[in-house]
Subunit: 634 residues, 2 copies
Amino acid sequence: MSQDWLPVGPSQVKILDGFWKNWRELVGKVTLFHEYDQLQRQGHVDALQLDPKKHRGREEKDGWFWGGSIFWDSDLAKWLEAASARLENTADPDLEKLADDLIARLAASQQPDGYLNSHILTWRPGHRFKNLRDLHELYCAGHLIEAAVAHCEATGKKTLLNIAVKYADYIERTFGPGAGQLNGYCGHPEIELALIRLYRLTRDERYLKLTRFFVEQRGRQPHYYDQERINRLDLRPFRPGHPESPYAYMQAHKPVREQEKVVGHAVRAMYLLCAVADLAKELEDEGLRKTCQRLWDDVCQTKLYVTGGIGSAADNEGFTADFDLPNEKAYAETCASIGLFLFAHRMLHLDLRSCYADVMETALYNNILSGLGLDGKSFFYDNPLASRGKHHRVPWPWWCPCCPPNLARLILYLSRYLYSIRQDAIAVHHYVNSEVTFSVAGKPVRLRVESELPFGGRSKFTFENSAPFTLVLRQPSWASGISVRLNGKETTPELSNGYAILKRDWSSGDVLELEFGMPVIKQVARYEVESLRGRVAISRGPLVYCLEETDNGKNLDQLVLKTEAVLSPEMEAGLLGGVVVLQGDAERETVKGDGLYSTSPPTCRRAPIRAIPYYAWDNRAPGDMLVWMRSRGA
Amino acid sequence: MSQDWLPVGPSQVKILDGFWKNWRELVGKVTLFHEYDQLQRQGHVDALQLDPKKHRGREEKDGWFWGGSIFWDSDLAKWLEAASARLENTADPDLEKLADDLIARLAASQQPDGYLNSHILTWRPGHRFKNLRDLHELYCAGHLIEAAVAHCEATGKKTLLNIAVKYADYIERTFGPGAGQLNGYCGHPEIELALIRLYRLTRDERYLKLTRFFVEQRGRQPHYYDQERINRLDLRPFRPGHPESPYAYMQAHKPVREQEKVVGHAVRAMYLLCAVADLAKELEDEGLRKTCQRLWDDVCQTKLYVTGGIGSAADNEGFTADFDLPNEKAYAETCASIGLFLFAHRMLHLDLRSCYADVMETALYNNILSGLGLDGKSFFYDNPLASRGKHHRVPWPWWCPCCPPNLARLILYLSRYLYSIRQDAIAVHHYVNSEVTFSVAGKPVRLRVESELPFGGRSKFTFENSAPFTLVLRQPSWASGISVRLNGKETTPELSNGYAILKRDWSSGDVLELEFGMPVIKQVARYEVESLRGRVAISRGPLVYCLEETDNGKNLDQLVLKTEAVLSPEMEAGLLGGVVVLQGDAERETVKGDGLYSTSPPTCRRAPIRAIPYYAWDNRAPGDMLVWMRSRGA
């Protein structure tokens, strides 16, 4: 286990002009304020008054559901975490005021004992922690704790941290194996990874211990949820998750160490695995690490969309059978892909292998980024790989506004996920225009990175200090080759686990040029994936491409791409905020006549096609979309 | 309207040695006795004792449902109709004894007023005609009437006819628009076509009038089923059929004249349309004929499997959206295809066009015949177009044994569907080794037909009397050409509506040789059928072919057939009772590696394939099956 790598914190990374700076400015200036406005309009903020009378009626207008949902507090917390990320790098008094005001409201709603949950306190007083299976109390607490850590780290203020610590301490007293304690755990994992984050800030061992308790207790027999249900005399049926166990949906069908396959709700699975990986690292627990590895492999080998989406079914917002990856009906929730990104980041710090960063990259540039419209204020909740023109981003997924603030916090905290360090080395996972500052043997080092990613394969590293250290550079799986020039001179680095290793006594002014071959790639799926037989997905670099009706006409599935077809990249600066499109020739296959069946072979004629990056679809005229094109061999 | 064609009755047609004689002997000697045995074992026969105590308990053994179901009487009636068909041509004292005994039991169970229904009389006395929507009483009565007409025609006995007439008269008094009459109709159409059949035997106008009432009343507002439900204080929800109306399932969502699309339960739809077509013919009602035409077109243009199956969904045993024709999940119930066959036969007698006989033929040789195993005692209820090895015929579909006796009566009454006559002409729809006797201007004519169908395209007609008449010969849609030789001399007949017209003063000893080109055909589906894109179905003559794992190995969907691939027919006398197989080369496309996705193009290697007729599948080692092969253009 090479568990000594640690992420480089966001305060050490400054994102410079370019692709991601643009997105981050959009999110900082537009998305955050749009989201706050929507949260306020829907009633999330007022819900903190804990007064049923202050809640607007459920049918009040727009057909929205205005009553306080069980997860509303988490939406506010994720928004606060996103706002903290913005404030870490950018002074914005308006945003800061909104955040401070919201924190004050949270403080006012906190009970003397530390408990804080607007839904329970308003609508189900007396039901505190009586239905851990369904009511998301600890899930909301987890997001509050995450926001508090982020807020403290970003602003230095302890206003939110104090609230979170008080609540965490209450939870720590309430839950555990002791007499008089509840030995249950939340139906929606989140508190576990939050408590580890709080532990890493405070080094208070109680939080680590509680995480361990929650993780180890989950899924044991006699089952807590069975007991809990009897205790509250609840005989109603509840949402079934999996043939194996109704609790698979809640990731509580069996102890995580015994799990061989990932099942149930995709976001819950990923959040739990984040905590398991964190715990494996903190405790150096090889059993937990192997569990993570096994379940990671299961996801990647049987359940991962080419876009980095996971959880193919809407029914359980989660996993189904191996290789069941429908295109048009793909659920592939934005939050699930974010969860996968977060899990992959943890895996990277258990074992530095490029495959984890590859998945992070695929998810980020495709399934995650597609979640946000180019206007910064429209969102996909689910991210299908084909559309017959009816799937569009919405200004607010009012039925469950989990994805918008999750997107905002991920993009604004992107700086957290680019680099890792250990003693005398820095690893670069993702090539983003940025400046990173770290120290080697007490000496500060500043490294400037310029990159053409995601549209070009060249990156340039400029060293602003002199120091001996190892530069570890990920070679993406899509790269057809790697070329490294140090101060203009070709050099051949050693490769290890998908990373190029460059050990040197770097001098101020050194320039390292890195170039990855970035061909257009046609991916095919293994036979077992019925929905993808005879089809190819086109990608270039980290970007998966798709066809849209507005470029290619109707009936996209008439287009057949020959195996040997050449598609040429071309930057179109004026299109969709500036994207590289792929252009070339396919064939349009049509069947003669109006009959249901025909005995004439289909007619094929040349059809020029233009593919755009998947993340950018549905930003122009509404219409059909297709990722997996039909293909034909020579 | 050319409504003057009439079917040639079964007593005028003798099936001679060959393909169908073999099947009919199997059904007559094996299937009928197997079915009677199963009906008796399951309790159908004992149910006629009307004594709950005589019913074996529901859980008694084999997990079978032994209590008397609402439709059990209809299974017995269909069996009696099939037995009658057998007795019409073949003396079989054992069979006759079984039939007579069953008729005696039916007579004993008939009430003094004529009512007869084992389910209601045993389990719900007092509920007579109180739930027409669900309880199938008139459906059972309809099959009883059909059996009675058949039995009288076949044997000359009136034992069953007397029972049926007494019941029909009771129904005729009970239902109608008059004061004190019930103005409802059965949730499962059948009585309508049965009453017309009784009318055609008896020429009693009351039965025609009642059919008309049932057909015209169906689906009107205020809705009878709404009223009926209120009357019996039944507030339970019931099986919904269609977004448009819950009564679509029962073919009662709107009056049939107003229907534009076929919806709901497929068998119910077909049985109703049979009666509508019969009524259109008897009443010369152009509105009803147009209704039939419109709904026929809808089925054929949007909802028909290439095998002649209809009703793609198990959920409602019926129709879904246009072009929704899944392969592996196809329901395509055997009885639904029989219903389509019967409806097509009616359409043919409203307007003699070969398209109707084409559909009869496709259904008969594929979706219907596949319903029966080569052992004569195993049955498919549903007939999918692809299987992953789990779909097998069962000795008895105990949950609903409707298909086995329906198959038996169709095959044993096949002679009813081959020929039609009018004043001075005879039409041949299906080429089957047989001798047909009819009269022209009072003179008896005997015509002997020998045919290679379904495995060869040649047929020969030998005239055994001299008479002037027109011979009308269907040219099947699959025929690439037609060649006619009269007494050895090539002749070119006029073609009209898909039939060749040969008018002549025929002499005894005349020989007409007919040959249809019978190439291997690759059918493709229109673009809208998503499940069939990039796929071909192979057929030759009336037979649709399929691949089985036992001939072609596992993973049949790896096989890709080139558009120009040549498949050669070869008769294998020892295989599956003697079938022509199609052999040639496809390519087996495989994807490298064990990963979910690969960037290497698929590898193709030559793979010899052997296809067998669809009807004969699942008669050897269990395994995968596929009708629609992947295909690839030049």
